[in-house]
Structures are given as C-alpha cells and as structure tokens.
C-alpha cells in the first residue's frame, strides 16, 4: 500500500473509533465505500456508539436489527443441523462414519457447500456413495467440476464422460471444466483430471460437521461459523 493510502487508512480508522458512520467517513475522506468497509472490518463500534448512530438514522437501525435477527436465525438452524448429524452419528452407521471422517480429512471446511476434490476415482466414487446412501442426496443435487490441463475439446468430452459414467450421474450434473494450465499434474491427474463433487446445502455441511464432532469426541465451535 502506498504511503498516502496508509495515512488515509489511519484517518478512516480514527474516524470510526470516534463513532462515525461509514457514509460519513466516505464523504469526509473521499474513499470508496467498499474500501472503507474492508478497512474497518476488525474495528467494532462500542454499544454506545451504535446506539448513537441508530438514533441519528432509524432506517439503518432497523436494517441492522434485521440483519442481527437473521444471523441468530441462521445460527440456530446450523446448531440444529449439527445436532441432527450428532444424532445420526450415535446410530453407528458404518458408511456414514467413514464418509464423515473422509470429509474431515479431504473435504472443504466451507459453510454453504459439501465439497470434496480428488483425482483418485476410488475416493470420489466412495464419497458419492456416501452422499447417496448415507445422506440420501439425490443425483440431481450433485454438481461436479473437473480441473484439467489440456485444451483439447475431444479430451474434455472424454473426461466428462469418464466421471459421469463412473459416478453414474446425468449430464446436467456436470457443471464445467476448469483449465489449470502449467501446473504440475501427476500422471493420473493428467489422464482424467481432478474431480470436484459438490452439494450446495448448508444443512448438509452442518450435519457432517456435527457428526465428525460426535465421532471423534472433539468440539469445534468454529464450524458453526
């Protein structure tokens, strides 16, 4: 960051500490609103400052209240979903247990989508089986992406057919091919690329996270997001 920007950032932060609203800061310093928002993200207002801003601008206050309520609602829903995962974990379903632990190791720790990336067909196939048989995910809800490093259209069709055939999924599940040029792929990855299996469903993610905690006896509040 340039020196002038640093000075400006300090000024922006100082104004926030004094309790000004983001719009006021934008007007006073001429900095882009998005930038201001990013710079202030780690700088919460005190309760009194927030109350003062709310008195000045009731519309913002309402929106803020609404946002907070939504946040709480989401959190409750995520807690409930984790609890459902824990419950299923207590049933000692073997496929469920193996799938969850595999997800702990290999899956993305993301809030809104169950998401695993691998080039090993056995792993991808097993995980899809887990999604279908243990979590009752419908085929249509699964999306797959493939990373590969060839630009050849024919190869793309072949790779697409390979994964769709392997996982026994309809055509519309295939989202796209992502080109990864110049990266060092190993031999297998060269052949069929890297496959991403994704299910966009926060409830399901939380279910798995809950189950992992129950199986392994750990407690990870960070997974509630």
């Amino acid at each position: 960051m340039a020196k002038t920007d640093l000075i400006r950032k300090e000024k922006v932060r100082a104004m926030r500490r004094a309790g000004h609203s983001i719009n006021e800061i934008v007007e006073a310093t001429g900095t882009n609103k998005t930038t201001v928002s990013v710079w202030l993200r780690d700088l919460p207002l005190t309760d009194e400052q927030r109350a003062a801003l709310a008195r000045e601008n009731p519309r913002w206050a309402n929106a803020y209240q609404g946002g907070q309520a939504n946040r709480r609602k989401g959190l409750t829903a995520r807690k409930a979903a984790q609890e459902s995962g824990r419950e299923q974990a207590r049933l000692a379903d073997l496929l469920h247990r193996k799938g969850c632990i595999l997800y702990w190791a290999e899956g993305a720790k993301q809030k809104s989508a169950v998401h695993i990336i691998n080039s090993d067909p056995d792993v991808v196939l097993f995980f899809t089986r887990f999604l279908r048989d243990a979590l009752h995910v419908k085929s249509e809800a699964i999306t797959i992406y493939v990373h590969c490093n060839t630009q050849d259209e024919l190869e793309h069709t072949r790779i697409k057919q390979y994964w769709l055939g392997l996982l026994d999924l309809p055509d519309l599940c295939f989202k796209k091919i992502i080109l990864k040029q110049g990266s060092k792929f190993t031999h297998t990855q060269d052949d069929v690329g890297l496959c991403t299996v994704m299910v966009r469903n926060t409830h399901l993610v939380m279910h798995i996270f809950g189950a992992i905690q129950e199986y392994t006896g750990i407690d990870n509040p960070a997974w509630l997001f």
């Binding site: 193996k98 190791a105 056995d122 097993f126 199986y215 392994t216 750990i218």
Partner: protein, 216 residues
C-alpha cells in the same frame, strides 16, 4: 589387455573407449580356456546377484502382502478408532509406502491421529518423529511452537528432527500461529497395514499400493 584375459567392459572403462570399439579391436584375439573359465565364473556371479535381488523383491512383495492382509483382518473387527484413523489417512496421509506420514495444522485432527497411532496401532512414542513447517525464522518462536506440539501430544522427549522455514505469502489471510506439524513413523509394515485396512473399509482394490514406489 584382452590377451591378459580382461573383459570388454573392463578395458573400455580403463581406456575410456567405447565398448563397441573395444569389441571390434579385440575380435581376433582368442582367449585361453583358463581365461574363459574365469570370465564365465564372473558372469555366473552377476547372474547370482540378479537372482538374489529378484528374490529380495519377491520377499518384499510377500511381506507387504502379509502386512496388508493383517490390516484387512483388523478392518473386519469393527474397531471405530481404527476405522476412523484409516479413513483420515486416506484423505490426509502421504502415500509413501515406506513411512506413515501425516501432515496437518489442525490440533484436533493431530491429536486424534496421534490417538489412533498409539491406541489402535500400538506405536511406541520412541518411534515417533515430528517435523515442523512454519513461516518465521525466529529461533525462540520455533522453541515455543515445538513445545506447543509436544505438550499437545503429551510427549516427553523432543521428537522434532527438523524445522522447515517457508516464505510466507503476503496475501494469505489465515496465518497459522503454530505452523504445520508432520507426524512420521518410519515403518513400512505399519504403512502396509493401513493400506490394507483402507482397501477393506471402502471395498476397493489397489494393486499399486503393493509396490515400493507407488508414486507415479
């Protein structure tokens, strides 16, 4: 030199001439039967060595097969900790046939994996080796991080044999304060045990896991 009974490769390497040239130049020299028998016995020796290495290879395959069978046997006994450890290894472990290598920065996962090694596979603390990757080159900080992991695993002796310092990327958002820890157990038998168990657990067959170099 050929008249003294030297072999063609020997002559070629002492004189630094191509083997094909030597062969051409000595083609008209007849060796005595005595010299021939000496050469013949060297040849047999080489043959024997080849035979021995082949046998070693087969013995190794046999050993690995037995270890994998042990793993499969264990997998059929429905031990949850064993199963979970193996599944974790399938996702996160290194696929190096000579050693069990597990790398992660998540303390929960590392503790769990350590429990799997100790309780399920009966690994002795003395056979554990740890490695550390971190972004700082500050030696005092290294000491702190090492102690952090040792305390976490409840290890008395200093198992760390290496600290790797990596250059931090400037844009990375989640800086890892405690670095990335690696647990190694240099035991090929154990590794094959885990491989066997994984195959049994998820119902697959991976013949390439028998070989010493399965990294293609």
């Amino acid at each position: 030199m050929r008249q003294e009974g030297k072999t063609i490769p020997e002559i070629a390497s002492t004189l630094n001439v191509a083997k094909s040239s030597v062969s051409l130049w000595v083609r008209d020299i007849r060796l005595t039967s005595e010299q021939k028998s000496v050469l013949e016995s060297t040849k047999q020796q080489i043959e024997r060595l080849n035979q021995a290495s082949k046998q070693r290879h087969e013995e190794g395959m046999e050993r690995r097969y037995i270890s994998q069978q042990e793993g499969r046997e264990r997998a059929r006994q429905n031990d949850p900790l064993h199963e979970m450890g193996c599944m974790l290894y399938l996702g996160e472990g290194a696929k190096d046939p000579r050693a069990v290598v597990f790398v992660n920065s998540d303390p929960h996962m590392m503790i769990f994996f350590m429990r799997f090694l100790r309780e399920s596979l009966k690994v002795n603390d003395l056979n554990l080796r740890l490695r550390l990757h971190c972004h700082t080159s500050d030696v005092q900080e290294h000491q702190r991080i090492k102690q952090y992991w040792l305390d976490l695993f409840n290890l008395k002796n200093d198992c760390f044999h290496k600290v790797n310092v990596l250059k931090a990327s400037k844009t990375r958002a989640n800086h890892l304060t405690n670095g990335v820890c690696t647990i190694c157990v240099y035991d090929a038998r154990l590794m094959m045990h885990i491989y066997g168990a994984i195959q049994e657990y998820i119902g697959i067959d991976k013949p390439e896991w028998f070989f010493e170099d399965s990294r293609r």
